[in-house]
């Protein structure tokens, strides 16, 4: 089971200050919403055979522009291949994506066609692969730490990808919301989650900002830098 770390009051104050500063910056960039710009790669975790709707605006009632492919599952090995997208903005749990593509090298089949233009998709169907080993309270390297593995492991395992969904993004950072119910026991047991990461969320869920996002599905990224000590 994931465990909480106890943070000192001064640490909490710093976390609040950083969060407020960040929120101010985000709002300053958009007078109408919490929209923020980013530049990260993400994968489509959609199991509905009909695919994932891409919409003209960041809400579930907006016009459907096209579809993104569902997860391809290798019938023999069970390996999964997901559609890959570039994420350029977020707005209240919705993400502006473009240049979607299949990964024919992984499926072993011809590239499947899908919508490749810009549009909005729900973050509940997007996942990222972060090679960071620290999750933070805000998208800043100096922000307080809210998530870490006891053994210093990185967050890019299949289990961690499955357990998280994209909640927000800014610059080269992604905010991921994890659900303990989707994490295997051996992962939950070694996760250290601080109380601020759970604040305002249903039981069993927590959020953290992570960087070192690797957009390669078939391998890791060798140039994102070493881990924090």
């Amino acid at each position: 089971m994931a465990t909480d770390r106890t943070f000192k009051p001064a640490f909490r104050a710093l976390a609040a200050l950083v969060a407020l500063t960040w929120a101010g910056t985000a709002l300053a960039s958009s007078p109408t919403s919490a929209r923020s710009q980013c530049e990260i790669g993400a994968f489509v975790q959609e199991t509905d055979p009909a695919g994932l709707n891409v919409r003209a605006a960041p809400n579930a009632k907006a016009k459907i522009l096209g579809k993104l492919l569902p997860v391809h599952v290798d019938p023999e090995q069970g390996y999964r291949t997901r559609a890959e997208v570039e994420v350029v903005a977020s707005d209240n749990g919705w993400f502006l994506i473009r240049n979607a593509r299949d990964n024919a090298d992984m499926t072993g089949q011809p590239e499947r066609p899908m919508y490749k233009g810009e549009g909005w998709v729900s973050g509940s169907r997007l996942i990222v692969k972060s090679q960071a080993n620290v999750g933070r309270a805000a998208p800043l390297a100096s922000a307080p730490e809210v998530l870490r593995f006891r053994d210093g492991d990185t967050f890019d395992s299949s289990a961690m990808m499955d357990g998280g969904r994209l909640a927000a993004c800014m610059g080269k950072w992604a905010q991921v919301e994890f659900s303990e119910g989707r994490l295997p026991a051996e992962i939950r047991e070694k996760l250290q989650v601080s109380p601020p990461a759970r604040q305002g969320l249903p039981a069993g869920r927590f959020r953290a900002w992570v960087d070192k996002i690797c957009d390669l599905q078939e391998t890791s990224c060798s140039g994102l830098g070493g881990d924090a000590p």
Partner: protein, 228 residues
């Protein structure tokens, strides 16, 4: 030395001698004590070969000296990145590539670290040496995979000629790779794509046998050796 077709006893003796001579003290001691050890035998290959998709022309050798067993299993592997992940291979609006030498590469995505400050991300390979690996909790790419427990040293192709050698200024990168150069499954041999951006990959059609040769072991020394 080509290990394919070599008698197991000779292969074991050869690879064990490499570990004892060129591996770390801990790796050598572990082998003497009968611990499972993996040797990577690298043949220097250009990142541009095979349209930048990498080549399975290296060997990963699993040495098991337990209880006098002295078994050896040899698997094809790729220990160098393909130029498909190089910024130099990216098509440009005017036609061609960022670097004309990469015209024959099937570009995929950009990956690497700019270690010489020229604005180009440089492809990296794991530097020869000994690394302690552990199985990655939670799997990787839906399979077992292995990650170094300490920071790895990368060599970067800073002049973009597809090779990692003394003609690359500032090629030794102590920070950029972190622990990211894993051992994981690569594309099947028939598809001719190794999926290596610096990782050590074993073709998926041989990966099950590779994992079986490891058993349930969680940590091992990996001794990577540059060959001809």
């Amino acid at each position: 030395m080509r290990l394919q077709g070599t008698p197991p006893r000779s292969s074991y003796a050869y690879c064990a001698s490499l570990v004892l001579q060129r591996g770390s003290r801990a790796a050598a001691a572990g082998l003497r004590e009968g611990r499972l050890t993996i040797v990577g035998l690298r043949r220097d290959t250009s990142t541009l070969d095979n349209k930048g998709r990498g080549v399975y022309d290296d060997d990963i050798v699993v040495l098991n000296g337990a209880a006098g067993l002295h078994s050896v299993r040899v698997f094809p592997a790729c220990t160098e990145p393909g130029a498909q992940y190089s910024q130099r291979a990216k098509p440009v609006a005017s036609g061609g590539r960022v670097d004309p030498r990469y015209a024959g590469v099937t570009f995929k995505k950009i990956e690497g670290a700019d270690v010489n400050g020229d604005g180009i991300l440089d492809a990296g390979r794991l530097r020869a040496g000994t690394y302690l690996f552990a199985e990655k909790d939670g799997g990787y790419m839906d399979a077992r995979a292995f990650q170094s427990l300490s920071a790895q040293v990368a060599e970067r192709d800073t002049n973009g000629d597809g090779r990692f050698n003394a003609s690359d200024p500032n090629r030794i990168d102590l920070k950029g790779a972190g622990t990211s150069m894993y051992i994981h499954r690569g594309g099947i041999q028939a598809n001719r794509n190794t999926w290596s951006a610096g990782c050590q990959t074993v073709p998926d059609n041989r990966y099950g046998a590779f994992l079986a040769s490891l058993g349930r072991i969680k940590t091992f020394h990996y001794v990577l050796i540059d060959g001809d």
